[in-house]
Structures are given as structure tokens and as C-alpha cells.
Amino acid sequence: MTSMAANAMSAKAKAMLSKKLTASDYQILLQKKSVSEVASFLKNNTYFKDVLEGINEGSIHRGQLETLVRMDLYNRISRLVRYSDKKEEEFYRLIVSQSEISIIVDCIRSFHTNDKTIMISKMPTYIQGKISFNLKDLSKADNFDELLGVLKNTKYYDIIKKYRTVNMDEFDYVGLEHDLNNFHFERVFEVVNRNYSGTARKQILEVYLAEIELDNIAKIYRLKKYFNVGPNQIKSLIIPKYLYFSPREIEDIILNKKADDIFNVLANSPYKNYLSNKNFMYIEYHTKSIFYNYNKRNISFSNNTDLVLLSYVFISKIEIQNIVDIIEGIRYRVAPDKISRLLIY
């Protein structure tokens, strides 16, 4: 990428981030009583106005609103990727690869329930051009053989093949998701190592390592606290990648720490600089807000264009999740202060 294009992308990403929803926007959204009101506010007062222009906010379906808000992120990424060279484009495609995994898992779930409506409604058809299989063909797959037929020429084929079964009642979803995620991150590291060198490579890898490590910690907490899972099984379900914790420290957590001690471990680790000052609510809130603050710092202080874009994507995803949480909260009539505790900003 030419330095001018890189700077343009970096500046554009920073400019886009400056338009993100503010604390007062969230406060207003929390006071809304219906999806229509949320849609109307987003359409008239935020940067989502472009993607929401033309919607009928009076009767919009919440699913449609969520789809449009998610679609907007892909539009924004596409606008930024236009400035990039081809090798970066390969890297950015990895950003959508997590969506590929979700689609495949949803498809397998539909074999179990024999109902495709949820899978099809969640399917992000707007990224068809960026993913490695055909969504329409996938929607027609009723069993593993048909699914494998659709995924034949993709890198997912071998993983899915291992899980091929006719008895869906005892299907190992956890194992499948773990393998797919593992594969996703291996691919990420391979692409980053191939395309970047020096500080750029180190910084980008650190973002992914932070994501994996924080996810591992949340996973360990959950498995210990709610499922009472043994250390060996926990070890098999985490992705063995490390940033601020060493493998031995993680093993110590798995073997010797109680679930409730994990928050203190986090508070005494290098992640403490990114901790939110809200009281302990639930582990995912903290791991996600740490990751949010970590990425925010990258955008503020980094000159590495690709790192800025990557952090922008992660922050935007959290913002979208906030909006989805508000919509869901309104739908189930959850009190605004309870929804507020879920929001990370």
C-alpha cells in the first residue's frame, strides 16, 4: 500500500470512529420504548442514517434493523479496503471468515431442528462476494453429505468431514466450534506472518492474541463456574495462544484457581490498564471492555494503518452488539438500567 493510501485509510478510520455513538446517545436509546423509536433515533441522529435512509421506521422489524446495522459495518470496511493493495485485501477477508464459521454452524444446527428459518434469516447475503462458498446452495443443504458438497472446494471441508454423522442428538457443537475457531486463528496467523514483518506483524498479531487470550479466560471462568468441567477438558477447549499470560500461568488458573478468583487474576495482570471501572458484573463484560479499551488505545496512538483498521472493526463490532442488546432489551421489556450494564463504550 502506498504511504498516501495508507495514511488516507488510517485518517478515514479515525474519522469514522469519531462518529461512534456517545454515552448520551446510549442514554437516549435506553429511554426508547420500541424498536421503531430506536430506528428513528439511529436514522435521524447518528451515522447510521445512510444505511437506514429509506426504511419505514414506523414498522421496521427488529431483525431488519439489526441486519442493516451489521451491514453498515461491512459497507464501512469495504469503503476502507478500497484504499488497500491486494495482499491487504486477503487479510481483510479474514475479517469476514468468522461469519463463515457462524453460517456453517447455523446450517448444521438446522439439521438438528429440521428448521431453516433462523439460519436463513441470520444469513448475511451482503457478504456473498467475500466468502468462500455459495450461500444459496448452503441454504438447500439438508444433511452432512449435501453440506460437504457445498464446502467441497473450501478449507472447511476437512474439518466438517470429521464431524459427519447422521445422529444429530449427540452432536459435539462445542468441539466443532473449537476446531473451526482454531482453524480461523491459524489462518489469521499464517496470513499475517506471510504479509507483514517487523513491528507491523507484531502489533497485528498482538490484537488477535489479546482476543484469543481474553476469550480463553472468559471460557475458563464459565466452564468452571457453571459447568464444573475438569481441567483436562478445559485445556482441550481453549486455543493455546498467549499474550500477557504464559502457558504456565494459564495452566495454574485452570488447575488451581476458583472461578471467582479469575477476576482478581485479570485485575493484577497487564490487562489492568484496560479494565473498566464498573463493578464486577459478569466475566464477558470485563474481557470485552478490556478488549474494547485495548483497541481504542491502538486507534489513538498507532500509526500502523492496518492495526488501526483492525481495531476499528473490533470496536465497531462491540458498538453493534450494544445496539443489538438495546433492541433485544426493549423487545423483552428489560429495565433500562439492566440493559445499560451490558453496554460497552
Binding site: 435512509e53 414506523g58 441486519t67 436463513i120
Partner: protein
Amino acid sequence: MAIEKMKFVQVSCDKEHLNDALMTMYNSKLLHVEQAYNIIDEDNGGKLIQIDNVYSEYCNTFKNICHCIGLDFDVQTANKKTYTNEEIENFINELNTKFALADSKDSVTLNEDDEIALEKLSECDFVKIHQCQYISIGFGRIPLESYKKIDMHKNKFIYVNLHNASHYHWIAYATSNTYVKETLKTLESLFFEPIDIPEINVKKVIEEYRQQIIDVYAYCELQNTICKLYDYVAQFDDKYVISGFVPLSKVNDYKNEFKDLPVTIDVQEAEKAGKCSIPTLLKNNAFFKPFELFVDMYSTPKYGDIDPTVFVAITYCLLFGIMFGDLGQGLLLFLGGEILYKKTKNKLAGVVARVGITSMIFGFLFGSVFGLEELLNPIHQSLFGVREKLFNTMDGNSTMTLLIGAVLIGAVLILVTMILNIYKNIKHKEWGEVLFSQNGIAGFIFYGFILVGIGMMFMMNTNVFVPVTIGIFIILPIICFFFKEPLSHLIEGKNVKPESGWGNFVLETFFEVFEIALSFVTNTMSYLRVGGFVLSHAGMMLVVMTLVEMTGNAGPLVFIIGNIFVMCLEGLIVGIQALRLEYYEMFSRYYDGNGKKYEVLTSIE
């Protein structure tokens, strides 16, 4: 320079003919009507009319109904009928029931795209759709993303795309009654937003009701207008009076409007209108009329004052013409302005056309045509017998002549505005202002003497600034400026002592007089811009012509674009600067405005 003479006209009638009299007044478009509260007072025993205007509400209701059912109509096509309030209310209820508008709170408002799709669906006949016994038909909008997914499902329904816009497709689907639930579940998962199919063909019913709606609405609108016009009616026992001002030349026309009505028309001098202030209608010939825009923009003159339009027109044209002197560009301004003025009656276009004429005259005198400075040389040589051209603006020797000329024009204009001010104040018998003000006789002597003195010093080498003349023509006027307030009071027979005491008075007046002296200098210098813009215009055209020479074959294009650019930029700047001179340097010396514009009622809000 004239203000139309006004008459105060009062039309009296009985209650029975009041509505007709009001509508006659309204339709005549001749009366500058006065609010009734300006006419009545405790002495004359007049009253305001208090009525409950239900027709305004009726009109709004009809407008809402028409908006909801999508009915557009022209009220001119209405038949003249009368209705009782009960009949109107029954009709409104009937419409609400027929078009199911009464319980419309929960219904979804259809947008333009919904209407288009529904219109297409109406080809199937809504009544027949609702009559289907074994097939269920539905209609609604589905997001663009979801539309692509419909065929991903194993559908138990068929659908047709009726319309699409940026975010939605509008579809109608049909399925057997057996699969209705399944179909709705599939569509719901695709965020389908159902829209009810109307049970009647609204368009057909609208046509049935169209004329009646128009007739009733027209009646309500007429009654609403009349009710609003009651604000202008003063009641004196059983007489109802509509009062206002009519230009003298139109009084007979106005009287003729009422010839078929049993009314009494009383025409009086405008000055006898009591507490009503008399409106001003400017009266100027076709050439000067557009310049009324500038006068009104500043402030309409008071009735009985002087109308500065002609003076504004002459000076504005003169100043603009000098600053924008170019025969070709002036011609274009004239033609463009005149065509636009004829078509739109826009006064600014009229001004542009007129300044185009003076621009052409000065362009001819400067020998400039679209920046071609030598094109008119032969004509100048034969007409004026000069060696090159009459006046070469780009010649270094002409610069001082140009700037001195500009200051001279300014000085003359300042003196003329002083004369106008003296005339105005004589008319109002403001003798203090006439004699002692800086814009009165004292100011005229002071400024005039200095100008004449400087002129004689440079042109005839004669110094008139000797102690005697300085004493009479400079010191004495300054004393007049200084003691203007007490001297004015003396003439008017008021207390000579200033309200704030002598100490304060001397201190304040000292600075005021200093400012007056300074303002004479700055106002005169302000006219230097006239010369400056002559040079600037010539300079800009020189740049254009240099670019034309440099660009070779593209020269003609550069010539055209350059001329357009200079015309737009320079034209705008010169227009604004000339207006600035009018408002700040001239109006501030002789014109107050503060009048009320003559306006007839054209719409009732």
C-alpha cells in the same frame, strides 16, 4: 419622486350584507385594510366582533381526509352551494366511516411506495381478493436482503414482486389456506412487514365522492375566510364598518366594486384616520420602479416624506456604470436583466437591466468592449478628435484624474444629499435640523467652503482660507454643530439648558463634533472606491486578455469564460459597493424611512 396620495375609506353595512361586503373588499385587492382595534376606541363606542370559527377546523379535517385518501383537487371546480354545520359534520362522519379513517390511530400510514404497490395490486380487484375462500392472499413490504432469501426456503406459497425501492420490495403472495401459518412464519423470519389489503377500491369510492368533497370544502373555506375577515370589522350598534386606505386614483374603482350592495361608503382625507398610520405606496415610472426594491429593503418612506427612489436610481446607475464600464458586458447585463425582468417581474433583474445601460455608456467613454481596450479607438478618434481614446483607464497618468474625479463625484453627492435633507426638514418644519445640523445649512456651508477652497487652491492657485472666511465658513458652522441641541430648543421655545447639564453636554458634544468633522473626511474618501473599481475592472480584463494571448487556440474559450467570470464576480462586488454607498454615505444623511408599506390582503392566514 412621488408617494401616492391616499384616502381613508370606510364601508358601512348591516349584518345581512356584511359577508358579501367583506368578500367584495377582499376580492377587490384595493384596500389596505386596518384591524378593527385601530378603529374603535372608548369614545366612538365601537366593538370588535367575537365569533367562534368552526370552519377553520372543518377545513383542516377535510385537508386531513383528502391527504389520507390521496385526493388532490382544484377548489375552482366547486359548485356554489350552502351547507348547515350539521350537514357538514354528518358528511365528515360519513367520509370517516367510508374510508375507515375514524379508527386510523392504529393503522399504518401508507407511504408513496406503498401506494404505488397497492395501485398495482388493485388490478386484481380488492373486493375479489377478499372474496377468495380457499386461497389466502397477502401483501406487504420485505427488505431487499430478505427478498433475495425468499427462494432459499422450500416455499409453500407463490409471490409476485409489485414494486421496489432502495430498501424494500413490495410483494403479494398467495397460498392455500392450509399453508397460511407456515407461509407467515417464513415471511416473518424474513422481516416481512404486512400491509392490509383494503376491502374496497378506494380510488373508485373517491371518485364517487370527489365533487361533493370539493363543494363542501369550498363552502367551508369561504366561510373560514369570512370569519377571519371579521378581525377587520368594527361594529357600531347595528352598523358594521370595514376601514382602510385606498390610493386616490383607485377610490372610484373601489367604490364601483360595491355598486350592487346596499352599503355606505365614506371617503376622508388619509390624515383623518385617527390612530391608524397611513401606508405608503411608491409611484414611479417604469424606468425607476425597480429601484423601489432598494428603498424598501432599507425602509419604506413615511407617508408625506420624500420618496428617494429616483435619486437612488440615478446615483446607483451612475456609480455602477463608472465602476463597471464596459460596452459589451453592459449590453449583456442590459439584455439579460431586461429579459428576466419581462419574464419574472423580478425587480433586481430590472435594476441589472438599467445599470447595464450606464455600464454601456461609460464603457463607450472608456473605450472598453469585453476587455478589448482598442476596439473603439477609431470611433473615439473621429468623434472626439483624440489621438488614441477619450480616457485610457490603464494609463498611469489617468490614475490620479480618476481618483480625484471619484472623490469629486462623492463630494457633489454628499452636497446634494445635504440639500435633500434640508428640503425634507423644511417640509417637516424641523428648523434646528435645517440650520444647525451637519447635514443642514451649517454643514453645507462648512463642507462646501472647504471643497471650494481646496479646488481654488489647486486650480487657480488662490488661497481663500483667510481668518475672516475661516471664521465665517468654518468656525461658525462648527459652533452651530456644537450648540445644535440648545439652539434648536431655543427656536422651538423649549428650555435651552441640556437635560444632562452643561458639563456633560460639552464633553459629549466635543467628541460628537470631532466625529462629525472626521465623518466628512471618511465619507468623501469612501468614494475613492469608485475610482478603485474602475482600475480593478480594467486590471481584471487585462489579466483575461493576457491569458487569451497565452492560451493560443483555446483563446476564444478563455475569452468567453474570462468575461463571464469578471462579469459575475465584478458585477456582484460593484453592485454591493454601489448599494453600500447609497445606504451608508447617502441615506444616512437625508433619509429615515420608518414608513408602513401599502399592502392589500392577498391571503388570509
